[in-house]
Symmetry: C2
Subunit: 134 residues, 2 copies
């Protein structure tokens, strides 16, 4: 919870429930996933609160917004630099921790400042591969 104090946001019970749901969560949930989970504890929870909290966290680096799903935004509580593998069969998302050193092609090197990059791998995950081999 120390971590949350550092966020410098008002710690309401609703926000703590959202933070606790996100903490260590590797499923890359959507706003709706979060809403549904937290609504169990706080039946009056509204989407506005979910989105407000996510916005506040985003601005403070407490969560990353992923544009991986073309239907809805997904959120990743791990804001340390990493990439993603997306299974094209089951749509699951796996974190990839590896520091790829990527530089722009020579003709763009001058003039462009690169501050970061994000890689998405596509393919078949372990589970789906096993499943199809049966």
């Amino acid at each position: 919870m120390q971590r949350y104090r550092q966020l410098q946001i008002k710690l309401t019970p609703q926000r703590l429930a959202i933070l606790s749901y996100l903490n260590g969560n590797k499923t890359h949930p959507s706003a709706e996933d979060i809403y549904k989970a937290v609504k169990k504890q706080f039946p009056t929870m509204s989407f506005a609160t979910v989105y407000n909290t996510l916005e506040a966290l985003k601005n403070r680096g407490g969560v990353m917004e992923l544009k991986i799903d073309d239907k809805r935004k997904r959120y990743d509580p791990d804001s340390t630099k990493h990439h993603h593998f997306i299974c094209t069969k089951c749509r699951s998302i796996v974190d990839i921790f590896k520091d790829y050193k990527l530089s722009l092609p020579d003709e763009l090197k001058k003039g462009f400042d690169v501050t970061g990059n994000s890689i998405e791998f596509y393919g078949t995950c372990r589970k789906c591969k096993k499943g199809s081999e049966q």
Copy 2:
């Protein structure tokens, strides 16, 4: 136009106008951009036609759907393998043609089949960099 015949879709005047707008277009337009542009020639053009055509093209590899913009889908008529640079100041998107050989970290290598990857670079583009140096 030879290229379009190969797509095996019915070539209606509306579709030809969309194809002609997309052909060589490096702006990564949204459905609305396409709609507005083509509506000039075909005032009765509807969004349904734009989306139908994009769907048909997508399925045949004639266009790529980009999840680069968190507000709306963007479309890229260049479906050859390439990556993108997104300027965090002016939001412009620049194509990056370079074949980065990326492999998963060792612990994921077995079990995962990678069929492709997509890289987004973030930073300041040439124009914005120049602008801020004035």
